[in-house]
Symmetry: C2
Subunit: 339 residues, 2 copies
Amino acid sequence: MSILSLPQPYLLFLGDAVDERDAKTAMGLRDWAGDRCVGEFALPTATITTGLSRLTPEAARARGAQSLVIGVAPAGGIVQPSWIPALREALEAGLDLVSGMHTRLEDVPVLRRAASEFGRRLIDVRRPRETFPVGTGRRRSGQRLLTVGTDCALGKKYTALALARAFAQRGVSSTFRATGQTGIMISGSGVAIDAVVADFIAGAAEALTPDASADHWDVVEGQGSLFHPAYSGVSLGLLHGTQPDVIVMCHEAGRESVHGLPEFDLPSLKEAIDVTLMLARRTNPAVRCGGVSLNTSTLPFEQAQALLARHSVELGVPCADPVRGGARFEELVSACLGT
Amino acid sequence: MSILSLPQPYLLFLGDAVDERDAKTAMGLRDWAGDRCVGEFALPTATITTGLSRLTPEAARARGAQSLVIGVAPAGGIVQPSWIPALREALEAGLDLVSGMHTRLEDVPVLRRAASEFGRRLIDVRRPRETFPVGTGRRRSGQRLLTVGTDCALGKKYTALALARAFAQRGVSSTFRATGQTGIMISGSGVAIDAVVADFIAGAAEALTPDASADHWDVVEGQGSLFHPAYSGVSLGLLHGTQPDVIVMCHEAGRESVHGLPEFDLPSLKEAIDVTLMLARRTNPAVRCGGVSLNTSTLPFEQAQALLARHSVELGVPCADPVRGGARFEELVSACLGT
């Protein structure tokens, strides 16, 4: 058993992207792992930028880059034929390739041959090769926080990153633990938990968050939702394996039904917290809710603040939007830490 | 996407077994799929029997056998070197090999070569090769019953088989849906749900129990337990994907802690039923508990009857031991069918 570990620092590949929304991975790496990104590399037809230095693979290698990360995801998640000469150039320059695309890098013959020729690695973050033991439920030392959600795709990764950063800023020893491909690229290691064989979900989560010193916090990126008809199994295995001391419930203001499945209403925040705590007690009887992380990106400032205040009063826990930060977020951080 | 389908009828292989407890698979197939077993085949040193005709692979093939099933599981689940000539003989006689062992049949060079030479298949039931779509939560026609449990290994498969048989005896159209290797061998098809990639647990369960006529019952073999620290993810994905109309809660009399994890107390039957129904409502708001299946094999008759009666009164649902059958079991069957 071993956790995937990526060669850093990175050179960020933007392909021929002309829409910033296609480059969420690159932007996320710039924002959350900027100290481990030496620059960006793009085809001449690309019109977007991360703002980092534009470098050739050779120049990036000279500045210490260890891998080229594919930081764009066009519709379908396919490696574009137009990228292949550039990707080959990176391998030739001595960089490994890191990808979260649907296409397996090894299934691209040019890349497979070049990797072999230049002794480089092709790393598909989406497909873990590690095997994990079955979970044991054994209590581990150290503290753990897990971000959970009423649904998918509403800010569980962002919330975990923001909390881990805030913990560190307060001098608290903490590690962001990634469970999805973008998180793994940001962290440089982790487990794509939804790609693990079902029998080993909890075991993988246990391996991801091992024994640590008593005052250390693992801040774990949640996946899916206990209320999602397709992904609830992943979420429950992750919850039981992580054994969180603290959960933070993530939600998006105004979202009332499951993303892409409008016939499934979302639970109320209160129900979501109650059900999650009830199930989490199975492996950690002392689990508590640190608060709510509310994605208010669709709301103007005043409305967002009013909503956060209302939820906080109704639920009796801090409620903040980590993107907006401020006193409410600091209150959430304090509540999570129990300080 | 496709569900694994096994070539039947079977010839049951007993290896060199001298202890009937090592031959649970063969005995289960005799009991539950006897109409699809042409006989047994064993090495001269074996001392046990299923009671079926002892046949050579060639004779079995002449009687219509399509595959040899490895019906014994010595400690470790390893294909024994002493078996290999006999397994090769079966391939040469025109039988496919079906195995639920840990050893991959393809990893045994003699068998791999013989399968290729004689044009036969090596089928490892433990390792599904099918891929499944992500679950959709779409409601499907027909009725579904899922056996669930307070723990692993206490009778969920047996209960599902007994209920499917009882439904058929009452003239109700029903199909046993297998989710584990022994169940798959008995049924001849199914999905080893704990071997599916985590993201697709619910999707696989949906595929296993497709649209059917309104009065048809799928009786689905449960796996793991929502209360098991290692396997709860499998159980929740199976629950949400199956969308059961009826659950039957399985338990073993006297078991108070998780099998092999004595520090984890089991929930009460009432708590187990309440939590399961609460979570199951997410994909089927009309789900109900048909009753309790209690494994009373450790108790004498009078004590077992008294315990079944007590649980039934306390929980307000029928409680029966399917192995003991009788009026209590018929009452459970009626409650499941709603008749």
